[in-house]
């Protein structure tokens, strides 16, 4: 197989894993001001995310780094074309990162309230912006021989916004399920009730997205040509239905795994639909950035493949271990006696 194709697959996997993992951090962060009724519940939510959010975010850094190393032209153009959107994303991620660490560092209610707002902002905007960005990539950016013809506001087209909303709802559902498996008591009841209800909204948005995708993008063409790949969106749909099945059985762990799978497969569906483009041009396919016209040299790709083959499995192994260390529910008593908690 050509190295470009290997790296395209890896690129898709990195983004899919990233959204699957940081997705519940974002979702729980968006729900945080609404679900938690007092400071202890708020701390419980933060502390379910505390041990893992940072490791989750590194999947983003790695996706960015992999784009740079494997498809430098795409990295350069994507990041400079989407300058303002990425800037807002950066600011939000910075705010989120410090707010987890800093909120608990003072008892002052005003201090904590300030960071509460920061956690919401730092979770909601990345979710929305990632959706808008990917919606626009699915749709294609107005690129021609002269570069980018759009602006920040042209990203806010209906399809981009629908994808943004899809990401937000998907992540909120994911976050609600995370809290359903990680918390206890009333907080837990509120989270699981919400997960059950929100699913209907998720279903509606997902359907709108899929139909809209047909009219506004060319993502389905690949599936039309190579129907075997339809298995991926099919799994996404089954997993989406699985969320409902398991939430109604109150088996939230399986529901959470279903939402992991849903997010992974929806992202993968989009990425497969893009192939061989990384950023299609909405003006003419001649200007699209593909894995062939924007990739690194075969030599570099070979080196990077070796690095990925050796280290990615190791990373996955110790991340799974870390999730196992922190498995199980977190009670208010746990965080009261654990002084190092956030």
């Amino acid at each position: 197989m050509e190295f470009q194709i290997i790296w395209f697959i890896l690129w898709g996997v990195l983004w899919s894993v990233y959204f699957m993992l940081d997705g519940f951090d974002f979702g729980a962060g968006i729900l945080y001001p609404f679900l938690a009724k007092n400071d202890v519940e708020k701390r419980v939510i933060i502390n379910t995310l505390g041990p893992v959010w940072d490791g989750n975010e590194v999947w983003l850094i790695t996706a960015g780094g992999a784009t740079f190393a494997a498809f430098p032209t795409t990295y350069a153009l994507m990041f400079s074309y989407l300058y303002s959107a990425l800037l807002l994303l950066l600011y939000s991620l910075i705010i989120r990162g410090v707010s987890f660490e800093f909120r608990g560092k003072s008892e002052n209610p005003k201090w904590r309230k300030g960071w509460d707002v920061a956690i919401f902002i730092g979770s909601f905007f990345p979710a929305l912006l990632f959706g808008v960005a990917f919606g626009n990539i699915f749709r294609g950016l107005p690129i021609d021989f002269d570069g980018y013809r759009g602006s920040f506001f042209s990203l806010l087209n209906p399809y981009g916004l629908v994808t943004g909303i899809l990401f937000v709802i998907l992540f909120v559902e994911h976050g609600a399920l995370w809290l359903s498996i990680k918390t206890t008591g009333e907080l837990n009841t509120r989270a699981s009730k919400l997960a059950g209800k929100l699913w209907y909204l998720l279903l509606i948005v997902a359907v709108v997205f899929l139909v809209f995708t047909h009219f506004d993008t060319r993502l389905y063409e690949n599936f039309f040509h190579y129907p075997v790949w339809l298995i991926v969106p099919l799994i996404a749909v089954v997993a989406l239905l699985g969320i409902k099945l398991f939430t109604s059985k109150q088996d939230y762990l399986k529901a959470f795994y279903s939402s992991c799978l849903t997010i992974f497969m929806i992202t993968a569906t989009g990425v497969i639909g893009l192939f061989p483009n990384l950023i299609p041009s909405s003006i003419s396919p001649d200007y699209s950035l593909t894995i062939f016209n924007s990739s690194s040299s075969p030599y570099t790709l070979r080196i990077m493949t070796l690095v990925a083959l050796v280290f990615v499995p190791v990373v996955i192994a110790y991340q799974i271990w870390s999730y196992r260390v922190f498995k199980g529910k977190l009670t208010p008593e746990d965080i009261m006696k654990e002084k190092e908690a956030y």
Binding site: V52, E57, Y83, L87, S297, I303
Partner: protein, 451 residues
């Protein structure tokens, strides 16, 4: 200001801000890991108390290092798209490797360390902080190898309208990158050591209790600091030699040498005057010293700035002054660390309030030196983005507007300014706190707990 100037300011501000936090992370992680290991080995709870107290300061600082680091990776593409496109084939690799081998390690194990006191065995817990220390130092290797490549590009070939990698081993064995890495990490260890000594000195001056705690913290960091301070200057001397070999225009600016000359003397005091291409003041010359420092040979020829076309010269005054002050502070570190080491060994710290006060007020010095070092490295590299290969002006993104970059620059300045205030507030608050006596949750720790 042009897009290039604005983008340069933005990169400088965000990189400088990022590097306020990085060195303390690099050094303090090792000190905390050492303290916790001592606890595991000896069972002495004072060490556990130390790991927790310094660990808290470590974490406040660590959080900002992480979040400001994301900015750096994004900015190459956002503001320097032409650069990224031109060199991404070789420059992107170390960045991606850094994320894969180092960032995952530190960010996963920091979670175990913060939240795992009651979840994993003592040994595993100490192992976690070692992995954090290892990960942060490993990430420094990769990012500085990337920077080393910009200083001394190797292992590439100009093909298909860009720099393509043809020898990965040349990239990872680039002597320029390695010496720079060693110079940087040892300076980070000095910074962490001075931080711990300074905060300990504060407590020894102010409080009657916890004497043993802070004396021991001081002692550990004094030897760490002294060894590192000596190493920094060696690595610095090495670096200067490499600059002479590979970046003659940077060397000329660092030493403010205008005329090409053999037996170049080192003026103790000089003030460069770029407009008139001379030094307006130049006194107390030590014969041959620049030639010796640069080439280990008194007769060696130093190429003067006048022999570089004007458009190829770096800003002289800033490079020169930063270099001078950095080296000056560097020697001061050895002196201070030596005295601190001596008195802490003799257990005479408490009777030396002046020394303690000096240690307290020395906390900012390594921070200043580190920033100046980067100014020498990066301003001295100008007008090149990749030395001798790509000019800074040619690396900037084509699709961004002045308004956009003004907006982002102002945004970063406001956001980072706020974060700086919060960080200083928190660090001061927690540095002044007394170490916690109640270690009860940890004492319940079951050494054989399943992991």
């Amino acid at each position: 200001m042009s897009i290039v100037d604005l983008s340069r300011w933005q990169f400088a501000i965000t990189a400088a801000f990022h590097f306020i936090f990085v060195p303390l992370t690099l050094g303090l992680s090792i000190l905390v890991a050492y303290m916790e290991t001592k606890y595991v080995r000896t069972g002495d709870e004072l060490y556990l108390k130390m790991a927790k107290f310094w660990g808290k300061l470590f974490l406040i600082n660590f959080a900002l290092g992480i979040v400001t680091g994301i900015t750096m990776e994004f900015q190459f593409g956002m503001n320097w798209a032409e650069y990224s496109r031109y060199v991404g084939d070789i420059f992107g690799a170390p960045l991606a490797i850094e994320a894969t081998v180092a960032f995952f390690l530190e960010s996963t194990f920091i979670g175990i360390w913060i939240f795992g006191w009651n979840k994993v065995s003592k040994k595993t817990h100490a192992f976690a902080i070692w992995m954090v220390a290892f990960g942060t130092n490993l990430s420094a290797i990769w990012i500085i190898l990337a920077n080393g490549w910009m200083q001394r590009p190797v292992g590439y070939i100009l093909r298909n309208g860009r720099a393509e990698m043809f020898d990965f081993s040349a990239l990872v064995t680039n002597i320029y990158g390695w010496i720079k890495f060693l110079h940087t990490v040892t300076s980070a260890y000095v910074l962490a050591a001075f931080f711990v000594m300074g905060v300990s000195a504060y407590h020894l001056l102010k409080n009657k209790d916890n004497r043993d705690f802070f004396k021991r913290s001081f002692k550990i960091s004094a030897s760490f600091g002294l060894a590192s301070a000596v190493l920094v200057s060696f690595m610095g001397a090495f670096s200067a030699k490499l600059v002479a070999d590979y970046q003659p225009s940077k060397l000329a600016a660092m030493e403010a040498v205008w005329e090409t000359q053999r037996n170049a003397p080192f003026p103790l005091i000089a003030i460069p005057d770029a407009e008139n291409e001379r030094n307006s003041i130049e006194v107390l010359k030590i014969p041959n010293l620049i030639s010796i420092l640069a080439y280990h040979d008194p007769n060696a020829e130093i190429k003067g700035l006048k022999d570089f076309p004007k458009e190829d010269r770096p800003p002289v005054l800033l490079t020169f002054l930063s270099y001078r002050v950095m080296v000056g502070i560097g020697f001061l570190f050895i002196l201070i660390a030596f005295i601190a080491f001596l008195y802490s060994r003799k257990d005479k710290l408490e009777s030396k309030p002046l020394l303690l006060r000096i240690m307290l007020y020395s906390i900012p010095l390594p921070y200043i030196a580190a920033q100046l070092g980067w100014i020498v490295a990066e301003v001295g590299r100008q007008p090149w983005l990749v030395y001798g290969m790509l000019r800074t002006a040619n690396g900037v993104s084509k699709s961004i507007s002045t308004t956009q970059v003004w907006g982002s620059l102002i945004g970063f300045t406001l956001l980072y300014g706020t974060l700086a205030v919060i960080d200083i507030f928190l660090l001061t608050k927690y540095a002044k706190k007394k170490p916690e006596d109640d270690l009860s949750p940890v004492l319940k720790l079951n050494g054989t707990q399943e992991v």
